[in-house]
């Protein structure tokens, strides 16, 4: 019954339900023939098919996690594992099927995104911009395409890295993703190349970009730099209730990668994502992760600090409203000496929503002179809401410095009174306080996205939705 309510809510909230147009749609439910037909339809090499099959077997053999968010309402048989809504990839807004365009019009795709896609800007048409960016990237030898194309065009690179950092045996949902993945991004940045503009997923428009089982692989070669943004602040409407992505990032010697996520899933979705990066010597990996929406999220971006003097950082924001549970955190595994990590987590719970910080700092034998700093702050907007912290620390070394700070704060009557005494109503005052609370992280996000994030939080706070 509760589940039906969720469904109903999301329908009302976004106020639309567009007819779906698709070329191929697998039957609901998962079995080996679905796995095989996904691979066949994509004309994949044999090794990928075998990987998928192995992963599927592993998925079957693993039981559901008995920790984290409550996943008992997740029904694997009620999910469509593969939909191809247009048979070829489109490269411009104009080429999108009108239903999809209308859908995004209605839910309000971020302006930056829409302006870009619709070619609003006076001098350039979207395709011109898209192509000039691609041309620019190509000149530098940067590969930026969707994962399916990546596999077709660069099978050797993909084969070398795919599933090596997050093998299908990592967890049940990584296995599921490996078995049925579709879409996602493939990025390769050659040695010494700095990509100045952030690579944004919306530059490579395709029908599968909001796929439920995205698979992303980023390789930043020695001394390179790239900022990848997986952003969609518009509520990502999906009729399916499961999003299970896998993201692997390889940061080579002296390279730096920043991966920013701003996502707002519709409130029927289970968002179960595995993200991991590996840093070589002197490399830097930064995850900026903003989670809104969804019914339950379980997501713990991690960095395997393999090379000496490498650094890892996770900045995360989680917002849980009514009937939502955001179980988010980070993992930092120090393999090498002189490595450092930093985790800053901010969570907000409202109307009985629940947030959990779940973190792991692990310092392996030999990883001496390492440094780790964890700070998690929770903000509770009312008495019904809940926040928990589950920090785990394992260290096999003596010469290490680990700091952990945690605070739980309630929006106090005095702060509200102060803002209200200036003429601000209660909702706006709460919105202002929440935005102030996440400000240290919001600052790290490109301006257009932080504005959207700000707007989204105000919308959540105003109670006009949900």
């Amino acid at each position: 019954m509760q589940d039906n309510n969720h469904q109903f809510d999301s329908e009302v909230k976004y106020g639309f339900s567009m007819p779906e147009k698709h070329v191929y749609r697998a039957k609901k439910g998962l079995n080996i023939s679905v796995v095989k037909s996904i691979s066949k339809l994509k004309r994949e090499p044999l090794w990928m098919l075998e990987k998928r099959q192995k992963a599927y077997q592993y998925f079957l053999s693993k039981s559901m996690p008995n920790w984290g968010a409550d996943l008992s309402l997740l029904d694997f048989d009620d999910i469509t594992y593969f939909i191809r809504s247009t048979d070829k990839q489109v490269s411009s807004w104009e080429d999108l099927p009108s239903e999809i365009k209308m859908t995004y019009d209605r839910i309000g795709v971020p302006d930056a995104e829409k302006n870009f896609l619709s070619g609003v800007s006076a001098q350039y048409e979207s395709e011109v911009v898209y192509e000039s960016i691609q041309k620019e990237l190509k000149k530098k030898g940067v590969i930026f395409c969707d994962m399916d194309t990546g596999l077709k065009m660069y099978p050797d690179i993909v084969r070398n890295y795919f599933g090596t950092l997050i093998p299908h045996t990592d967890n049940k949902f990584a296995a599921l993703n490996t078995a049925v993945w579709s879409g996602g991004s493939f990025v390769y940045v050659p040695k010494g190349v700095r990509v100045e503009l952030p690579l944004q997923a919306y530059f490579r428009m395709n029908a599968e970009r909001f796929g439920q089982f995205e698979r992303t692989l980023i390789i930043a070669d020695e001394g390179s730099y790239v900022h990848y943004i997986e952003g969609c602040t518009a509520p990502i409407y999906t009729t399916s209730s499961l999003h299970s992505a896998v993201v692997e990032v390889f940061v080579k010697k002296g390279a730096r990668v920043r991966y920013t996520t701003v996502q707002n899933w519709s409130k029927n979705v289970f968002n179960l994502v595995t993200k991991r990066a590996q840093t070589d010597e002197n490399a830097i990996m930064e995850w900026v992760d903003c989670n809104l929406g969804s019914q339950a999220t379980m997501k713990y971006p991690s960095v395997y600090l393999k090379g000496e003097h490498s650094k890892g950082e996770v900045l995360s924001i989680a917002f849980a409203g009514k009937n939502q549970h955001q179980d988010a955190g980070a993992k930092m595994i120090h393999f090498a000496p002189h490595t450092s990590s930093r985790i800053i987590s901010k969570s907000i719970s409202k109307e009985g929503g629940r947030t959990s910080y779940r973190g792991l700092i692990q310092i392996l034998k030999g990883a001496h002179d390492t440094h780790s700093y964890v700070s998690c702050d929770a903000l509770l907007l009312d008495e019904k809401s809940r926040s928990d912290t589950y920090p785990t620390m394992r260290t096999k070394e003596q010469e290490v410095e680990v700091q952990h700070e945690a605070t739980v704060e309630k929006i106090g009557e005095e702060k509200l009174f102060y803002l209200q005494s200036r003429g601000i109503n209660k909702y706006d005052a709460e919105g202002l306080l929440v935005n102030g609370f996440i400000d240290p992280i919001a600052k790290e996000i490109p301006l257009e996205y932080s504005i959207e994030l700000n707007r989204l939080i105000n919308l959540e706070m105003s109670g006009s939705i949900g």
Binding site: S421, R422, I424, L432, N435, G436, F437, D439
Partner: protein
């Protein structure tokens, strides 16, 4: 302008203001003094509508002839009442500009608001660094009170209550604040709540009120101040 009749206010079971009635006239400057615990801040917060205070059913607050007794806080503010807090709170991640921008949404564009803030900050000797910081975070006593005054200056209320704007402020800051307020008080009703008469060396009040045990026990002109300075509240 501001009229309170039979104002009785309690917190929990403790009665703090007792049947207080008074008319504050338009464009006059008042000083409200009294010993600790006499109910001065309670009076200020009650006028602003702080939810912590319980008002007796007979009590009435009129502002410009409008009965605002049951108005929520923000409606009192938008009607033209401003309260400068005795201990201004710090607001993480919110600058004074962001705060005022929300208040003046749709009334003033961001650019001219920014200009106005900069101008006033200069006058109040508030550094750019303090201006760009989270409001009142890591600020000195003087900086906090200046930020309150700055907000008053931008919001231009009809009635402004300054609760101990002179406390925790060094002499230079006090001079800066009072020289601004001397100009600010024109065409406004002002109530200064204070413990000492230092600020009154700079600002001439029209009336001095003495609050004791939740009652106005005396009102008079500025001469009343010198009497209190010499004899204290006990002799009243």
């Amino acid at each position: 302008m501001l009229e309170v009749t039979n104002l009785s206010v309690s917190v929990g079971r403790k009665l703090i203001l007792q049947n207080l009635s008074y008319i504050f006239e338009q464009n006059k400057t008042y000083v409200l003094m009294g010993p600790n615990g006499s109910g001065k801040s309670t009076f200020a917060q009650t006028i602003m509508g702080h939810p912590q205070y319980e008002i007796d059913t007979y009590s009435r607050i009129f502002f410009n002839k409008e009965n605002i007794t049951s108005y929520p806080v923000e409606k009192r503010a938008t009607s033209g009442i401003f309260l400068s807090l005795q201990t201004p709170l710090s607001l993480g991640g919110i600058t004074v500009f962001q705060l005022l921008r929300v208040v003046l949404k749709g009334k003033k564009d961001a650019l001219s608001l920014k200009r106005e803030i900069m101008k006033l900050a200069k006058r109040l000797n508030i550094s750019q660094e303090v201006l760009n910081r989270s409001l009142n975070q890591g600020a000195s006593g003087g900086e906090k009170k200046k930020m309150e005054v700055l907000q008053a200056g931008i919001l231009k209320p009809k009635l402004a209550i300054f609760d101990e704007v002179d406390t925790g402020v060094d002499i230079d800051a006090l001079k800066t604040i009072s020289s601004y307020l001397r100009h600010f008080k024109k065409n406004k009703t002002i109530i200064f709540i204070t413990h000492n008469s230092r600020i009154l060396d700079y600002i001439q009040p029209d009336k001095v009120l003495i609050l004791k045990n939740g009652l106005i026990i005396k009102d008079g002109d500025a001469d009343l101040l010198s009497f209190i300075e010499k004899k204290g509240f006990d002799k009243l």
